[in-house]
Subunit: 655 residues, 2 copies
């Protein structure tokens, strides 16, 4: 099956995404519909000028600059082929012609300032300097036909043909063949006159054979198995580009929201592990179907899948009992990286394909952390850097080129929208940023994709709490300020008062969107977990090295609301007090780690070496944990000297 | 599960068989019931003295010599602990005491002259000088318990414990673990306080883990997949002994008697390959259950199975389409040896276990031939040796330390009893040898296990035809002598006359057991195939080397009737005319090859090297084939000068 040539492809750089253009779509819609976060304040009406892009190739196929663009962009920008994503689309008259040309004809560059993630730190794959050297390669060969003079069996003739191609078999290791492929050999060889394409795994292992030349159809898929969210990225292994992505709720949430409750479920239910395992495998297979449908390929053209996920997700995905991760001393069954045959885990990719599991670091620091280290290259930084992965299970990495330490904290799922009254995941309609006017407590907000608000996501919750603090609606210890609760922005509920962010008339749920006392507590616990965890790792390193280490740089990774307001994250005391310019949002760094391992097999060696030298800190059992945690529950912290830059707010904070 | 200690074990040498004694059984019955062919003319009444054996250990537990033994054996023999198998059993009074002792306490040596196969050439396994070096080894280790100070996952602690054992990991290759075993690790490790037994495949791959010390339970099974018969040998990989054997009819015979008709069935039936594959796998799994029941072990204690079989059996067993073996130029899909996971082919041994397929040589010279070469070591002989494997597909090997050539002939299944009116496999009640008195045409015969005759097996048919020739009942061209057909030993049937071997009153089938004209034709075709095949291979070697090679030694392998009368085989012209003393019957040499590969993994390297240097002759397409075959149809051959030793029969043969 060849990929459908009648579609128009647009390549977006530096994010290395290949998108398929749909009729009457502008580039902003195309990007947003493909989950690529582009800045916009006007909601795509061409007035804010935030969604600039640079057309590097194929300008002639696009509509001419619109009146809006002529207003917002400078003449120089227009000459340099800068466009606004929301105004730019393919010229209707060009579409039929364009479809007949070899694809892609159009390449677009997205400048850093148009994107919501800091690609300065984290561009994916090829743009990060990851060379293309996948574990799976396809080779087209013509095999000699058999004859009576020298009777050579099919496989042995194939090996001869393969050895004469220069691309492979440098080490003269005799190729082996997977049993599933061997069974196909006799008929495949004769289906197209002894012309076949072999799929090679680790250079020398034949894992598939197809009639004719199918070299172009060589795909891999990278997965991030989050406690709450599953994401899959379909990547073409010949060009390294992402052809489609899909995500889904981890169906295991039905059996427990965090890893501990899932372990408990497994302990208490006879078929518990099997159920949880089957549910995640099923969901992963649905994602595979989705990304394949989007890219119009067959799942059998995916030969390798790479996976990151925390240790419990890793174990359940592999049907390994995670019970002992939940019991002191919290050991996983294995930490080394694994290659597992797709059919052993019922993964619906090619039957000869493989799953690659990135290595774990410890019971509560999983392959997702390995992925973050690989993709962020924190281990190459000269300044001491803190990386935190905000998810239901929060991972903390502190390190630079000399040291590397990790630990994990039970952050809870508040920042993923769970346990928050009107919380939701970062999806269309989620309030992702807001401001409160201290004068009248009126709220201005933005939502993802500018939809009518449905709820509030992680970044919105951080903003809400920070703004409520600044407006003195809440106190440093997190309680509602009694002086305000009779204000019209408050609503009385059975369990107390709630602060109204959006009145029900303006929502699409026909209920007020509010922040409750409990919501604030949930956020407090999450941010205290991150802050105290970071301090404990620092203490550990200080003790070990007898120096006073200071965080100079922060990487924020994970599925945040839309994007996090760095000042507000600092203001509530979630992260240490350093200048905004040294705080970077690096998006789904774990997932990009999985993508990079798919693109270049050498990174797996790197990962193996890396995890040998990482110091692991068991945060929750540290002596000082309880005290540190309790002190970090305050906004921003009981010790205000930890946050010297917040002196302007002294009137609020010192009350 | 430990093996049952309450059973009495007797080790039989030099055949390396460990048998379990059943109450009230004499040693002859024990051997015969275990398919070990012991000579006997009197049927176990202690009068013929053919079943002598030597008690090497444990004489005190046996009954004292019987009156029969005192008559048949010399005083010297009795002093030297020689006994008759049919008179010898365990003393009833000793049984309870003996059962409480560590086993085995009794060892018995079977002299060559008591056995029906020529162990001079072919003793199995250890006695042939095959060292014990199986591919699967078990190691008992104590693993360090986890602690909070240095958190090391289960697998990594196991590797540390494993590396400190001196037995393995010489090459410092990091051990890997099969996915099935990995899943068992957490619970197994904690089931017996971190004491576990690992099963290692190829030194470094962990394929099973069990709680406690289970090193003793390490079994393998060797299989011979014949076109007509399946045989399995259960071997303990710690001591190299065969613990039990079982055989069955290949259920594929229902779909076609020979390999060509099975290929045709597969070509003509949509699910044909699947059906044939499933039927043989099912039968193999039944054999596994049988040998395990007999040895009182669980199939999960079998970790490796080795297989020999012709190329078509090999392909169907692996579910590989054998169609192209049936079409010129007759190429198999692969010839190299294969390691295949047991669960990939639904083999009911340990789920982490492996099947090892010995390498093929060509489309019609399969792994069975490789097995014969390995076990007979024909490639080490100084004299030019002919080895023929008599089965439905007949393989011919000609070689010595300098050259090696093989080919195959369509011998048909006459020698396995098929297509013969009263033919049957070599089982109890089969006439396996006979003599005809030329004076009155009366027949004296023996049957397997001295049962009332049921039919006639391969060796009986050879005898019958040879004796009919000598008695002038048939002519050199294979037709009945018209002068005899009115004799009372003939019976008239619709299609002609038949010579009566046994009158119906003396059979257990209540029908005459006869030889028909068609039976003689079938044997003629079989013997002509072998003889002409041998000549064509010799011609090939002579042409290549420009010398006149002569066969000096013959090995007869395969599931013959009971044992073949060498003179008669020569007399009918099935094998070249050399002195009887240089003709050896080597039993199921292919099966022993499979056993030896199980016992010592180095033999697999040997096999790989061997098959690279074997010359393969496509007998059926040789120019001279038709002529050679036609000439070989005569008894013994059209050219009498090929059989100079038969001059005493000149009056018969020159007629």
């Amino acid at each position: 099956m060849m990929s459908d040539n009648s579609r128009i492809i647009i390549d977006f750089e530096p994010i290395s995404r290949r998108l398929f253009y749909k009729k009457k779509e502008n580039f902003y819609q195309l990007l947003v519909n493909s989950s690529i976060r582009v800045r916009s304040q006007c909601g795509g009406f061409g007035t804010c000028g935030k969604c600039k892009l640079l057309v590097q190739q194929g300008l002639k196929y696009l509509n001419p600059p619109t009146d809006s663009e002529k207003k917002v962009l400078s003449e120089e920008e227009i000459t340099e082929n800068v466009r606004l994503a929301c105004q730019c689309s393919i010229d209707e008259d060009q579409i039929d012609h364009l479809k007949r040309l070899p694809q892609p004809q159009i390449r677009v560059f997205l400048p850093q300032e148009s994107l919501l993630e800091d690609f300065k730190i984290l561009t994916s794959g090829l743009n990060k300097g990851v060379n293309l050297n996948p574990n799976v390669k396809k080779v087209f060969i013509e095999v000699e036909r058999p004859n009576l003079k020298t009777i050579i069996p099919d496989f042995e003739r194939i090996v001869t043909a393969l050895s004469s191609t220069t691309k492979i078999n440098k080490d003269h290791i005799e190729p082996s063949i997977e049993f599933e492929s061997l069974k196909k050999i006799p008929l495949t060889l004769r289906a197209d006159n002894h012309h076949i394409t072999l799929t090679l795994y680790e250079e020398n292992k034949i894992i598939d054979c197809e009639a004719g030349n199918t070299v172009a159809n060589n795909y891999g898929i990278a997965f991030d198995i989050g406690t709450t969210t599953l994401v899959g990225y379909l990547i073409n292994l010949n060009d390294g580009k992402i052809y489609s992505t899909a995500s889904a709720l981890n169906p295991q949430t039905a059996y427990g929201e965090d890893v501990v409750s899932r372990i408990t479920y497994i302990k208490n239910n006879k078929e518990g592990l099997l159920k949880l395992n089957a549910s995640v495998i099923d969901a992963i297979n649905v994602i595979i179907d989705e990304v394949c449908a989007e890219a119009k390929i067959s799942p059998s053209q995916i030969y390798e899948a790479t996976f990151v996920g925390n240790s419990v997700m890793h174990h359940i995905f592999l049907n390994i009992d995670p019970t002992y991760i939940g019991l002191s001393p919290y050991v996983p069954a294995i930490k080394k990286d694994l290659n597992i045959r797709s059919k052993d885990i019922n993964l619906k990719i090619n039957r000869g394909g493989y799953a690659y599991m990135l290595p774990l670091i410890a019971g509560y620091v999983g392959a997702d952390t390995t992925g973050i280290i690989l993709s962020s290259e924190i281990n190459k930084e000269s300044e001491l850097t803190l990386a935190i992965d905000v998810g239901t299970n929060g991972e903390i990495i502190v390190g630079n080129k000399d040291i590397l330490a990790t630990g994990s904290c039970a952050a809870g799922s508040a920042l993923e929208g769970a346990h928050i009254k009107n919380g939701m995941r970062a999806a269309a309609g989620a309030i992702d940023s807001l401001k409160i006017d201290p004068a009248n407590l009126s709220v201005r907000y933005t939502t993802i994709n500018n939809k009518k608000p449905l709820g509030i996501c992680g970044s919105g919750i951080i903003d809400a709490v920070a703004e409520m603090l600044k407006s003195k609606i809440i106190t440093r210890s997190g309680g509602f300020n009694k002086n305000f609760i009779d204000h019209e922005s408050f609503t009385k509920k059975n369990k107390g008062v709630e602060f109204i962010l959006v009145k029900k008339e303006q929502t699409s749920i026909n209920r007020d969107i509010t922040i409750s006392q409990n919501d604030i507590r949930e956020l407090q616990m999450a941010k205290a977990a991150f802050y105290s965890g970071t301090r404990i790792i620092l203490n550990f390193l200080n003790k070990a090295d007898e120096v006073e280490l200071k965080i100079k740089q922060i990487f924020l990774a994970g599925a945040f609301g839309n994007y996090i307001n760095k000042s507000n994250a600092k203001f509530i005391g979630m992260i240490p007090d350093i200048s905004d310019e040294f705080i970077y949002q690096i998006g789904n760094a774990a997932g990009i780690g999985a993508q990079n391992c798919l693109l270049n097999v050498n990174l797996r060696d790197k990962a193996r070496k890396l995890i040998k030298n990482i110091k692991y800190v068991e945060i929750a059992v540290a002596q000082e944990f309880q005290t540190e945690y309790a002190k970090a529950m305050y906004f921003p912290h009981l010790n205000l000297e930890y946050f010297p830059s917040l002196t302007e707010y002294n009137d609020i904070l010192k009350r």
